[in-house]
Amino acid sequence: MKTPQSYQEDFISINNVTKKYGDYTAVDSVSLEIGKGEIFCLLGGSGSGKSTLLRMIAGFEEITSGDILIDSDSVNGVPPNHLPVNMMFQSYALFPHLTIEANVAYGLKREGTAKQEIKTRVAEMLSLVKLSEFAKRKPDQLSGGQRQRVALARALVKRPKVLLLDEPLGALDKNLREETQFELMKIQKELGITFIVVTHDQEEAMTLGDRIGVMDRGRIIQVGPPRELYEQPNDLFIANFLGVLNHFKGRIVSTSDDGLCDIKLKDIDMHVKVSTELPFEDDQPVVVTVRPEKMEIFSDPQGKPGMQNPFIGVVTSIAYMGHLTVYVVKLEAGIEVTITESNTHLSAKADISENDTVRVEWPARSSNIFTR
């Protein structure tokens, strides 16, 4: 895995960019630095401003205020046909009247590239995306996955400094999606082109992205590598957005010198322990979050607890999903938690069934704590 430090850090620099439509602010003072050769994912729900930001980089939307520099050149006021970026559209936007070959050649023809060179480069691209034998077909004679690859080839053939991808896998079904993700990453590493990917799918962002910028209501909330966002989100919104969470609302009772907080939950007789490096005051209202996979379930309720947070509960439902099993357990204090267990070997935890009394545990350092 590449480390973000190895990039030329300010290859693309977005400085305090705002986009307004009348009174509505679609993108609100966003600043970002994206490195050369990086896959950067803009992750957010609909209306978060991620697509608007992408379209400003592509030159399709005017910037209301601020500036975007690509390799030190401003995109401000430059029409899209003069920018060194190419875009892969969500709908792929393949030209229906042209063959696959002509679709890929379109950008080179507009540049006035010599005929022979166009031929070689188109053939090269088509073989890169494994579509050489489809060169003479029209887009409507291809499957969704093949069309996606044509769109990729067409956008890459001009060797842009940056490739913008708008929901690149959104139109594909699940199996194809996973396969395509890795294919996309392989091609990117091969060509070394900077990718900026817009997506609403957190799994996609985490798989593809070297770094992710999470957007909400026009603002960037946190930027970082996937692991950092998932394990140390600086905001409850991000924690929620990146996956299923168990929440515990409560107040700090005490904090020991080594950073172990004792938290009394709101309205119920239950304490949880969290280790944190952040300073918290006593009696401060907080939300504690624990990812389902950080919790562990044991069939023996009377066993000796091995972690700081042991609780007894009753299994209310089990969903076996193959690679993992999801348990919902109602703890004695009345609160429900979701736990996932990897099925690391055949018949793992097969002795647990619904209505069983079980022991749930998680370590103090596996939870996050947010002020509220």
């Binding site: 399709f60 046909n81 970026v85 936007a93 393949l94 030209f95 001009k158």
Partner: protein
């Protein structure tokens, strides 16, 4: 299908097509008097082909329809692109209203206003010296362009905007995008608009009457002047030929549109 629907269907078709069938029927009438059946004959069709006056008028109508349909497609397409792609601009709704005004304007008024226009042009610019094919073409272009706008506009609204964006993104100028992407994709609607304009122009009597001059009698004008005296069987034969050829054009159009639709999905 219920009985009611069957009867409705039958009644509807009868209402629309019985007059036309009667016309076709009488075009094969051997009798010279319109309403009396004198046996089957194709002599009127033969006479038609020898009537230089009718052939001249048909040729004029064809030229006028061809030229004005072509002009209308160019002007109408540009107007449609402006309306669909330019977004909001000052005077947009006025422009869109003005573009479609000829659709609802009584033809007599369109005819008179164009006549006045040509007269005042002659007064101030010295052109046109006399009205003829050129003035009819201009007049027909004006009123058929409105129909082309409608046809092309609806196709443009359905066109995925990202296709044009993709073209720009790949380095095409707006001009190149229009000719290499937009026009080829909307070509079927351009063809449909052209044929519609052609038929409208070919059919038109009122506006042509106002804007024509000596030596530019169109086919509808000639037919009208003939039936003012009496409905003669040769007019029936002529009308039959027109009906059949227009039906063929429309059938071709429908097949074309159907094939195109199949290709798109």
């Amino acid at each position: 299908m219920s009985r009611f629907l069957k009867i409705s269907l039958f009644a509807g078709f009868s209402f629309l097509y019985i007059p036309i069938f009667i016309l076709i029927f009488y075009s094969f009438n051997a009798s010279k008097r319109g309403a009396v059946w004198g046996g089957f004959s194709t002599e009127w069709y033969g006479k038609l082909l020898q009537d230089q006056q009718i052939l001249d008028a048909a040729w004029i109508s064809f030229k006028v329809a061809f030229l004005s349909a072509s002009g209308a497609v160019i002007i109408g397409t540009l107007a449609a692109v402006v309306l669909v792609r330019m977004g909001k601009f000052r005077g947009r709704s006025m422009f869109s209203g003005l573009v479609s005004a000829p659709l609802v304007m009584p033809e007599v008024i369109t005819g008179i206003s164009l006549l006045l226009l040509f007269i005042s042009f002659k007064e101030f610019l010295g052109w046109p010296q006399q009205r003829g094919i050129a003035t009819i073409v201009i007049a027909h272009t004006t009123f058929t362009a409105a129909f082309v706008v409608l046809v092309v506009q609806s196709r443009l609204y359905a066109l995925d905007k990202s296709l044009e964006e993709a073209s720009a993104d790949l380095g095409a100028t707006p001009f190149e995008t229009f000719f290499y992407v937009t026009v080829p994709i909307i070509a079927p609607s351009l063809a449909a608009g052209w044929m519609l304009a052609f038929i409208l122009s070919f059919d038109d009597l009122v506006i042509a009457s106002f804007t024509s001059g000596p030596g530019s009698t169109t086919l509808p004008m000639l037919i009208y002047s003939k039936v003012k005296i009496a409905v003669s069987p040769d007019v029936n034969a002529l009308a039959t030929i027109i009906v059949v050829s227009i039906s063929l054009v429309i059938a071709a159009l429908a097949i074309f549109a159907f094939k195109n639709q199949k290709q798109e999905h």
